[in-house]
Symmetry: C2
Subunit: 248 residues, 2 copies
């Protein structure tokens, strides 16, 4: 597809992405099979349940949410995705994607056709291993999430969410203390098993406690230590870091 002259080599998120464990030669082979497509706009669907599984996708810019739905119309967000994240693993199960993956803003993706990826992985042990590793990470994150949902209070959940976002942005070279939420309060609540009202109330509470500053979608973390004290659990298995954007 259109190239846009982007290569894994000079991608600023390659340390988070599939290439992380590949050497230069391997990265070049990977580059060969990647299709870089035109941007998606806000609310565009990258995958939809039932759609034939063909590819994994790496987020190049922007942000996505993944969610599943139940037959009675309930919606459950399973993760938010930022640059470097891989999505689409849910599709391997039955050769059909199981989730919606929707752009939360104008975003770009790298498409990794699975057949080619699979063939490459037969030759490259590191690639083979890396894919399993990413899926394993996802599984561990989901397990941490189960603990968060079952054992933590609303306050602890939101504190986890904010510190995790902070970590993720930091990993990507963005500010760890000031960032824009691309998701609504409603979506945050959906992920965390809380209502909008509770999320809103907690954000204002945190602000009153001089832990954060909230200006609409803009979050400024004033007292990161105070925020971390609100985590029920100082450090869980997979640290919940990178959790809130589970590869789906």
């Amino acid at each position: 597809m259109t190239d846009f002259t982007i290569r894994c080599q000079n991608c600023s998120f390659n340390h988070l992405c599939i290439p992380v464990s590949l050497n230069n030669t391997e990265m070049n082979s990977l580059d060969e099979i990647i299709e870089r497509k035109r941007p998606l706009h806000k609310n565009d669907q990258l995958t939809v349940p039932g759609q034939k599984f063909t590819s994994l996708f790496a987020v190049r810019s922007g942000s996505f949410k993944s969610y599943i739905t139940s037959s009675d119309g309930e919606q459950q967000i399973t993760g938010f995705h930022f640059p470097g994240d891989i999505v689409g693993f849910d599709g391997l199960y039955s050769d059909q994607y199981q989730s919606y993956t929707q752009a939360m803003e104008t975003s770009m993706i790298c498409e990794l056709p699975y057949e080619k990826l699979d063939q490459m992985s037969a030759q490259l042990p590191t690639l083979r291993r890396e894919m399993l590793k990413i899926m394993s990470t996802e599984i561990n994150q989901d397990h941490s999430m189960m603990m968060l949902l079952n054992k933590r209070t609303a306050e602890e959940r939101l504190a986890h969410f904010l510190t995790t976002l902070s970590d993720r942005f930091s990993n990507r070279g963005f500010s760890a203390v000031e960032f824009n939420l691309t998701m609504t309060r409603n979506e945050i609540g959906n992920l965390l098993g809380l209502t909008v009202e509770t999320v809103s109330r907690l954000l204002t509470r945190f602000q009153k406690e001089n832990i954060i500053n909230v200006d609409g979608k803009l979050i400024h973390i004033v007292d990161i230590v105070g925020l971390k004290q609100k985590l029920g659990d100082p450090s869980s298995a997979v640290s919940c870091s990178e959790k809130f954007g589970t590869h789906n």
Copy 2:
């Protein structure tokens, strides 16, 4: 190791296990690398967090629970495992298992040394694909679990749990309507984000409503239709079937 003259070929759970998509030749190669070890006893740990990742494990008989712990001592059960289930995928992430996997009764396992499995998978596309597929299933199940925990009432959660157990036993050739719980009420509650008391109260309520019969650990499902009516969600993405024993 001691052989016990069990082979995948004649294992009554091979339709649920890794061999499901392999042909006879492939299954034989797999058999070559499997180590069948002596039985584990109740409460024995198959894996422990931090332990070096070496193998995946297939449950051959008995049952296991997997759980993670947080630094403040909280424990979160992430799944129950029955014959044919594969456990250990959590270890790929950092070359160390992340969870405890503990026998709930006297149980047998097949050990699949990962290095050998990986080498085999370079040659066998079906095996390669199958491993990813199993992990993908696990991820989808975990996502269903998130919806269950975030959106369903206590009653709906327990109804889900019971129907899922029923399905899983049925898949394994056991009775779908009468089975023994190998886990305690406490462990059920832990998985479902409920307290022991709530689980106990609900079981007695279901019994009063003539939906099930409870005699200690022995559950008899009297009215499967009535039970399914209690599910908030008649059919979710991965049906939550096979969910409650997530491969960890």
